[in-house]
Every structure is written in C-alpha cells, then in structure tokens.
C-alpha cells in the first residue's frame, strides 16, 4: 500500500480525517478526569480479629498463627505479615500487583470459614479490610473552637459532616479527636461498701430505671388508649435521684454514693490544632470518584456550612490532596507545552522556513490528541504518569516527520513538483523511518510487561509512548506528504529570499555549511587515526563507568509536597498527660526551626472511638504522638522539606526521654511507595529476647552510619504491666470464678456504660467508674471489693497477688515467622550506599542460630525493580538489534551502530554525577529509553552510508559524504528530543523531583551518544568494512 500517494491524492479526505480525530480528541480531553496517579489498587487485604482481654502473645498463638497458616494457601499471595497487639490481631495479605482483589477476598473468606473453627470461643469473627484508594483522605480540616468546644463533635457531625456526605463522590467523613459528651457517675467505693452495693448492681438499677416501655393498650368506650410507662431521664441530674438501695427504711440515692457530672468523656486521644483545642475532620472519597472534583465540591460547599456554625468555630485546611495533584498536573502540562515550543523553535532554526516548520510541528498536537483519545477509551486519567509520558514523547514525535520532510525538500530542490516529490520523497525514506520508529517501540513496548510497583508506573508509559510514536509515524506518512504537496513551492516558482530574512537565510546557511565542512574534516581525521579514536573512546567509556561509583542509588526519587509527619514514641506506659507535654515541646521547636510552617495538627494517644490507625500500619499508644505539618508552597520557601526535616531532627534528637522518632514526608506522593521506611532490615526468629537484642544492636550500628536517620526498631520496648494473679482455690471456695472477679475489677477501674442518656435524638453514655482518687495506686486495686455469692464483700488483696511484669506490646510476623524490623530513612546520602554500609556492618556481626536477616522496604523494591529493569534493558537491546538486522538485512551492520549504546551510559553517568542525582528506577528507565533513541540517529547515518557504498562511492568518500549529508537531520532529531525533555529536567515545581532524573539522564545520555555516533560509528563502520567484510569476501 502506498500510504503517501493515497493521502496526497486526496487532500480533502486527509484534512477531514485529521479534523475528525481532532474533534474526537478535544472531546476526550474535556472529559478526561484529573488524578495524581493511575487507578492503582494497593493489593493488600487485612484480616482483623478481635480477641478481647488477650495479651499480644496470646493473640499471636491463639488467633494470628492459626489464621495465618490457613491463609498461606491463597492464590497469588505475595507476602503475609501480621501484627498481634493486645486484644487485636491484624493480618495483612499482600498480593502481587494487578491481582483481582475481589476474587482474593472471596478466597480469604472461604479459608477463614475453616480457620474459624480453631479460634478461641471468645474471639470475635474475623473481618476483612481492604485499603483502597478511597481510604486516602482527600481533604483534612482542623476544627478549632472556644466556647462551643463542649458540643463540638455533634455540632460538626450534624452541621458539617452530614451535609458533606450528601455531595456526590464524597465517601466517609470522619470526625476525630473531638470531645464526646458523657454523663459520668464517679463512685466513692467506701460509701458503696457501706451500703453493700457493687458497681454492677448500680449499673443494673440505672438500666432498669432509664426506660420507657409501651405496655399495651386498653379500649375505653369508643377510644383505644395506648399505655406506656415513661421512665427515661430527661435531665442528667435525674440520674442522681435514682434510688439505689434502702438503708434502715430510708432511700439511698445515687448522689449519696457518687458524684454525677454532665461532662466530656475522658479521651485516650488528644488532638491539638495550631496550638489550640480542636478536632480533625477527614473527608474521603467514594472509590472511583475523582479526587480533584470531590475536593472542589467540598471546598465550594464549606463557606456555606461555616456560616451556620457559631462564630468561634473555625475550620482550617490541613491537607488538600487535590492541590498537589492540580499543581503537579499543571507543571507537567507546562512541561509538555514548553517542550513542544522548544521543539518547534529547533525545527524553525534548522529549516528556516515557516511552511516546513508548520508541517512538522503539526505532528505534535496530532500525536497528543490521539494519546488523549487513547486515554479516554481505556478509561485512564490525566495523571502524573500519563502526562510525563506525553512530555517524554513530545520531542520524539517530530523525528519521523523531519526525516520525511527533509527528503521531500531535497526532491523539490532537485526540481520536482511538490506533489510528485511528496510521494516519491516519502516512499524513499519510508522504510528507514519505519525501522527507526520500530526501534523506539522496541524499547517502550516491553515496559508494559514489567511487574511489581515499577510495572504500575511504566506500564502506561510504555503504551502511551508507543501509541504516540506510531501515530507520529502515520502522520509522517500521510499528513506530512499531503501538506508538503500543497504548501511547498516549486523551485522555479519560489521567490528568492530577499531583505533581512534573506540575509539571515544566507548567513545561517553559510554557518550550517561551515559546520558540515568542519564535521567532515573531523571525520577525515578520525578515519586516518582509527586506532586513536577507538582507544580514546574506550578510555572515556571505562573512565566514565567509574563515575557510577560516586552515583548513589534509590528506588524512587523523593518528592517534596510541602508536608512532613513527625512521629514520636516515648518510654512505654508513659501517660497521655506526659505525652502531651512532649508534644508541646516539639510544637515549640517546630515553630522556632521552621518559619515556613503554615499549619499543623497533633494527635496523641489512642483513638478509642472508631477507626484505629493500627490497621494502616501505624502505631498508637498513650506514649505515642504524631504531628502533621504543612509548609508554604514550594516556590515560596527556600528550603526543601527534607532540609527542614534535617534541622528538626537535630533538635528533636537532643530531647531526653524520646525513645524513637521519625520525621518523614507525609503527602500523597509518599503513599506511592508505601508507608514503609526506605531501608528496612527484617530479623526473623522465634525467640523474642534474642531477636530484640539483635535488633537493638543493628539499630546501634545503623545509627552510626552516616546518612541514616529516623532509625527505629518496630518492636516496641517491653511495657511494664500489672498482673492480678488470682488464687483459684480461694475464689472457688467463695463461689467466684476468674471471669466474675475480672469483670468486677474492670468495671471499677475501666468503668462500665450503664445506660444511654437521650436528648434531642442523640445518645450519650452514662458511664460508671471509681472516682479518680481511688484509681491511683496498687493499693487502690488491692482494696477493690468483690461481692461473693453470699453477698459478702471480699478484697482483691485477699484473693489475688499483684505483680509487675514486662510485656512486648506487639508481635509482628512475616510469612508466618516472628519478625522484628529495624527501619531507617535516608537523608543526604543515597539509599544504596547506606544499605551497602549496613550490609558490611551486619556481615561482621555474630548472628545467633535460628535467626535470619532479610532486607525489605524500598531496598527490596529497588533491587527487585532494578533486576526487572536490567532484564528489560537486555531484552530491549536484543529487540533493537533484531529490528536493525532486518532493516539492514545484515547481522554485522547493527553492531556498528550498537557501539554508540555504551556511550549513552557515559552520558548518563556524567549527568547523574554532575547534578548529584541518584540512580533511581526512573533513571534506569531513561537508560532503557536511550537504547532506542540513540540507535535511531545512527540508523539514519549508517543507512545512508550503505546507500552511498552501494552507489559505488569508495569507503572513505561514502562515510564523509554521508556524514555531511545526514548531519542536519541527526542533529535536528537529537536536539528536538533533548529540548522536548528539558522542561522535565529543569522544572522545580511540585512533583518535579519524580521525573527530573529521567530528563537529566536522557539529555546527557543523548548528548554524549550523539557526539559519539557522529565520530565513533563512522570509524567503526570503516573498520568493519575493511576487516570483517573483506574477510567475508575472500
């Protein structure tokens, strides 16, 4: 099929086809939703089982182990990890990326049915929890209030959360850390004892009194009356008026034995915002809803809702994940546009002809628009991955058009009519263009086979670039010849350039010719000094490879989204009040150290209501607090969040009493690589003591390594606990059992919800417990009275001994083995270097028998994806070779071209070294891309040399002539690709860190390899021709 002729003969059809595509593309673009990332589902399903009253160890043996062993057979399971803490077992099943989670969840449910039979009776039914993208908060607001603080939770729930939930796309709206109203009945145990009462009795009486019951109906005459007994409290004060006993004929009121307060619940969580009291409002989206749209809807609705609130209640934005998305997308869109403009300028500079420039430049919007259509059809979004793909491709899509156009122009200069020249010119180089395009496809298409998280990133990139490159090939063979035939003028009709423009043309043409002559002289020299050139190239290559020693490695570049998260862990069992004190201390430090701070919130303690962050892999405890910081926008501050983090670490490290702390990025982008630390060492072994000791030792070593920060062991320090050990014989003789005693003690110390107080449709707990004065010492516990079966009271100290023990607060397991992890983040040094240092240290250590050491975290992901990418690098090289071999119909010629490949590495090494960038998976991707791009240039050059040789030019002459002839197209395609990617490399906006290594690597790699292509490849060509081919001939 003669594609160019087909389109040149039908200019109207061509224009209609392209306008149709344009129209569909614009509609697609308007409908494309914006998001940060492709719709990736984190392939993790958690199984959560409550086992009330069990310690971490008991939970591990009785629940976690049993469920784990039955779940280990689930299909496509990648890894199974678990955390057993007091009362709760959390098992996380991690699947391979791309697993159908619904199917997996069904499998898990089936296996759980079987496992359930082995679980203890009082363990609750396990339930599944899937962490979807809808779990990630879209917006977080801080609510502060003064006078209205007491009713804040209901107020916000009703006036803000409920209306927000009705907005389309809004999923859960959570209110955290707010005050909760409670009617608290605080008992004086001495008086209770005097009246022979127990808390359980009082609870029973309250429940029985706070009751409204319909009792039937009676018919009187013609009417039917409903009968009811109204007993519900209508005022919290009535609780105190309840008669709880009779003493010598006189009633004993509850207020006689207790104080009743309408007050706030004593929370085990403390939330502070901007230094004031407050609570947090978290807005999450429904799965599948669009983050940007949801955030916009909520933001627009909020001023309205704010008006309905009392004046002292204020809503502050803590986090808006859509802001980062919109900014990143805007930055990338700018990069695409800017890249396109650069490319057009380059073409204009080379061709100095506006018609030709337009013809070539049109391929850019055309391929972009086809890419939009593709995204729309596949249901993808405009996200940082897809936009980066567009930005990468923008400099490459013009290449085909350039080569075709150049040849058409040559025919026109030769005297042919534009129409004829368009057809013949396109056909002549068509094959070479197809081959060089295929070599690009050969490096991008295999990316779609990548697995793991790297696959998630690169899958769409591979497809999208392939689509765009193929589109540009199509445009180069249809639109470009058609437009050339219409727009170009015949030689004799063409006016000579006159005036300044003409002068410019003349002068620049002279420059170009001078450049060509200069290059041809270099080529002549190089051909005479072949050995010098080859040895020199070898030295440059080997020398540059040493640079990689100074280039660090990491998995993914760290992004700066203007937020940080500080986690601090104090000595175990430190009470919340003390933790709050530390929180204030750090609050002060942050204010001093970081004037860039815009907003912050602090959460200390355990969330006793609703969602537990343990499920999300975070720690909670009265000794733990977490501070979220938001800084000003990236352009408005001088320091990166990493620099701020470093300065904060220095100060926090000096505070005594802090066991562990970490300062890490908290934003949406960090969710990409998971919440795990960058460097993690798993110590696997059953013996808790031995593994903990080893973990502490490794922790010490790691702390000493330069660059390792936030070093922490994830098995918390053993927590002191008081055990009340009952004397079974004694309690049995009193007619008691363990459960009865334990319940009594629990109700006294922890308390019991006796009934609910209802007001205006809301329910509030009526909570009974000992007065705080009677819950302060071991003696208080010992003096608790337990009613026996005979109605007499017995003291706890008479039936039990109290002892202090140490308990591990949690036990983690990985693939059914106990594991303790030493984790660290890396600052100021590359991840790979720190890991190497640590490995060397660990190699020197004595590892006890039965303990194994494994590396996980980003290190694991890094080595996994590097291995994968390495494999794909080899695959790409093979594919590129195969394409060239068929193009040249020769097994030898491709080798000549492939000599330019190593020099792409030279460029990458220098680029990374000079800019101080680490070799990340992204930079590795750039290396793979370079294999295709570099070859592309050389194909054009060698192909033309071959043609000249076949036209009976002698070797030397052919090489020099081809060099001069092909210099401009080679430079042009290389420079357009380089400049197309320049915005990616130099951008400093939000999210730019991600793709910077790619931009830098491609630019430097292509620069060096192009220069090498222009000199070394012709030299290698002449060597091959004279040595090998001659041998073949003979």
């Amino acid at each position: 099929m003669n594609l160019p002729k087909l389109f040149v003969d039908r200019p109207i059809t061509t224009i209609m086809v392209f306008l149709a595509v344009l129209a569909i593309g614009l509609v697609s673009l308007a409908k494309l939703p914006i998001d940060l990332l492709p719709d990736i589902e984190n392939p993790v399903i958690s199984v959560i089982t409550q086992y009330p009253g069990a310690s971490a160890k008991d939970v591990e043996t009785n629940v976690t182990k049993k469920i784990e062993s039955s779940l280990s057979t689930v299909n496509k399971l990648d890894e199974i990890t678990s955390t057993s803490i007091d009362n709760v077992s959390v098992i996380q099943c991690k699947f391979k990326w791309g697993t159908d989670l619904d199917e997996a969840a069904n499998d898990i449910r089936n296996l759980l049915e079987i496992a359930k039979r082995d679980l203890p009776d009082d363990a609750e039914t396990p339930y599944l929890f899937k962490f979807g993208s809808n779990m990630f908060p879209v917006l977080i607001y801080g609510v502060t209030a003064d006078e209205s603080y007491n009713g804040l939770d209901k107020l916000i729930d009703k006036k803000v959360a409920d209306p927000l939930k009705r907005l389309p796309g809004v999923g859960t709206v959570m209110v955290m850390g707010g005050p909760i109203r409670q009617v608290r009945v605080e008992i004086d145990p001495k008086r209770l004892e005097a009246y022979h009462l127990s808390i359980d009795q009082i609870a029973g009486i309250l429940a029985a009194e706070n009751l409204t019951m319909p009792v039937g109906d009676i018919k009187m005459g013609r009417l039917d009356y409903n009968l009811r007994v109204p007993g519900e409290f209508s005022d919290p004060k009535q609780v105190g008026d309840v008669v709880v006993a009779q003493q010598m004929g006189r009633p004993v009121y509850l207020r006689d034995v207790a104080t009743i307060q309408d007050t706030l619940k004593e929370r085990t969580i403390d939330t502070r915002l901007l230094g004031g009291k407050g609570m947090i409002l978290i807005v999450m989206k429904q799965s599948g809803a669009n983050t940007v749209n949801v955030a916009k809807l909520v933001r627009n609705r909020l001023p309205d809702l704010q008006k309905r609130l009392p004046a002292d209640v204020e809503l502050h934005m803590v986090m808006d994940s859509s802001e980062f998305i919109v900014n990143s997308i805007r930055n990338l869109a700018e990069a695409v546009i800017l890249g396109g403009l650069f490319v057009i300028l380059v073409i204009l500079a080379f061709l100095r002809e506006w018609r030709a420039t337009i013809v070539v430049a049109l391929t850019i919007p055309f391929s972009l628009i086809v890419a939009f259509i593709y995204l729309f059809i596949t249901g993808d979004t405009l996200n940082i991955i897809t936009l980066s793909s567009l930005s990468i491709a923008v400099g490459m899509v013009v290449d085909d058009a350039i080569v075709i156009l150049e040849n058409i122009t040559r025919h026109i200069e030769g005297g042919a009519r534009p129409r004829e020249a368009a057809v013949f010119g396109s056909n002549e180089v068509g094959l070479a263009v197809v081959a060089s395009t295929l070599s690009i496809v050969a490096v991008f298409l295999p990316l779609t086979f990548l697995s793991g998280i790297a696959g998630v990133f690169f899958h769409i990139l591979g497809l999208l670039v392939t689509v765009m490159i193929l589109t540009s090939l199509f445009a180069a063979l249809s639109l470009v010849p058609m437009l050339s035939s219409k727009l170009f003028q015949r030689r004799l009709e063409k006016k000579e350039h006159t005036g300044t423009l003409g002068k410019f043309y003349e002068t620049s043409e002279k420059w170009f010719i001078a450049l060509e002559n200069w290059y041809q002289n270099i080529l002549r020299w190089a051909l005479k000094h072949r050995r010098t050139v080859v040895v020199g190239a070898l030295i440059i290559f080997v020398g540059s490879m040493f640079l990689f020693k100074f280039v660090g490695t990491e998995f993914m570049p760290q992004t700066d989204d203007g937020s940080l998260q500080i986690n601090v862990e104090l000595q175990p069992a430190v009470k919340l009040e003390q933790t709050k004190h530390y929180a204030e201390l750090i609050e002060q430090i942050v204010k001093e150290e970081a004037p860039e701070l815009r907003y912050y919130s602090i959460r200390a303690g355990v969330n006793d209501q609703g969602f537990s962050s343990v499920i999300m892999g975070q720690k909670e405890g009265s000794n733990i607090f977490q501070m979220r910081l938001r800084f000003s926008k990236k352009g408005e501050r001088k320091r990166s969040t990493y620099e701020i983090a470093d300065s904060l670490r220095k100060r926090i490290a000096k505070i005594p009493g802090i066991v562990n702390y970490s300062v890490s990025a908290a934003g949406a982008a960090s969710a990409l690589t998971g919440a795990t630390k960058q460097l993690e060492v798993d110590i696997i072994g059953h013996d808790l003591e031995k593994t903990t000791a080893l973990a502490r030792k490794i922790e010490g070593k790691l702390k000493a390594i330069h660059g390792a920060v936030d070093v922490a062991v994830d098995r918390g320090r053993e927590r002191p606990e008081l055990e009340i050990v009952l004397d079974r014989e004694k309690i049995a003789s009193l007619g008691l059992n363990t459960a009865m005693v334990a319940n009594t003690i629990r109700h006294n110390i922890y308390g019991i919800v006796a009934t609910k107080y209802r007001e205006e449709g809301e329910e509030y707990d009526v909570f009974i417990r000992y007065k705080p004065d009677f819950r302060h010492s071991i003696v208080d516990v010992e003096n608790i009275s337990v009613p026996t079966m005979t109605g007499k009271m017995v003291k706890v100290k008479d039936i039990a001994t109290i002892r202090e023990v140490l308990y591990p607060p949690e036990i983690k397991r990985k693939n059914q083995e106990r594991v303790v992890t030493v984790g660290a983040n890396v600052s100021g040094r590359a991840l790979g270097d720190v890991t190497a240092d640590l490995k060397a240290e660990i190699a020197k250590m004595q590892i006890p028998d039965g303990i194994e050491i494994e590396y996980s975290g980003q290190v694991e992901q890094q080595s996994e994806s590097f291995r994968d990418l390495g494999l794909f690098l080899i695959l790409s090289i093979f594919l590129v070779y195969m394409i060239m071999a068929s193009q040249f119909e020769s097994l030898l010629d491709p080798f000549v071209i492939m000599f330019s490949l190593p020099f792409a590495l030279v460029g990458v090494a220098w680029g990374l070294f000079l800019t101080g960038t680490s070799l990340s998976a992204i930079a590795f991707l750039a290396i793979i891309m370079l294999m295709g791009i570099v070859v592309k240039n050389a194909i054009v050059l060698v192909d033309y040399t071959n043609i000249l040789r076949a036209r009976e030019y002698d070797l030397h002459n052919a090489i020099v002539t081809a060099g001069g002839n092909r210099l401009r197209p080679v430079l042009m395609t290389a420079i357009t690709t380089i400049l197309g990617m320049l915005p990616l490399a130099i951008s400093t906006g939000e999210g730019s860190e991600m793709w910077q290594p790619l931009g830098i690597s491609v630019i430097f790699g292509l620069l060096v390899s192009t220069l090498v292509t222009l000199v070394l490849v012709p030299v290698m060509y002449s060597i091959f021709e004279t040595r090998f081919k001659k041998a073949e001939w003979e």
Binding site: H411, G414, G415, A416, R417, R419, E420, A421, V423, F424, N427, E428, L431, R491, L492, N946, I947, A950, R951
Partner: protein, 97 residues
Amino acid sequence: MKAVMIVYNQSISDEVYEILEKLNIKGFTRWLNVHGRGSQTGEPHYGTHIWPSLNAVILTVVEENLVQPILENVRKVNELAEEEGIRAFVWSIDQVV
C-alpha cells in the same frame, strides 16, 4: 510519422503530460515503474532502497512536424530539473495499421 519515446523520472510525470497536452497529442502508450540508468551522468532508477527512484516511459507516434516541439519542451524540462532525469528518443515509423 515518427515515434518519440520519452524516458523520464516519475517525479516529473506532470511536466511530461503537459508537453503532450500542450501539443495536443492524443495518442500515446505509457509504461510505468520502469528501471534504467543513463550512459553518462544519469543516476540509476531501480526502485530499490539504494536507488529508490523509478522511471516511466511514454511512446507516442506523431507527425514529423511535432517532433521538434516535443524535443524542445523535453529540453526545457531537463534544464528545469536536471537531477531528476529525462531523455527523448526519435525514430521513423514505416507502417501503421
């Protein structure tokens, strides 16, 4: 009667057709995609990767007075697009059926 055979690079086909049109020559025979090369300066036209261009041939039998105008025009085209290549050959026709 004379036979005029014009061998030309396909990329200047239009120019050749114009000659015939201008001189109102209606009858001709045309071969497309023909290979060939010139004896002196001409590049080969093989339709291959090395020599991608192709020739075409037009044979027309005309009255003798038309031969000179044809050759004149061919010369003009040749001057205009020398790199593309065009040649004309003339011989006598003895009989026509």
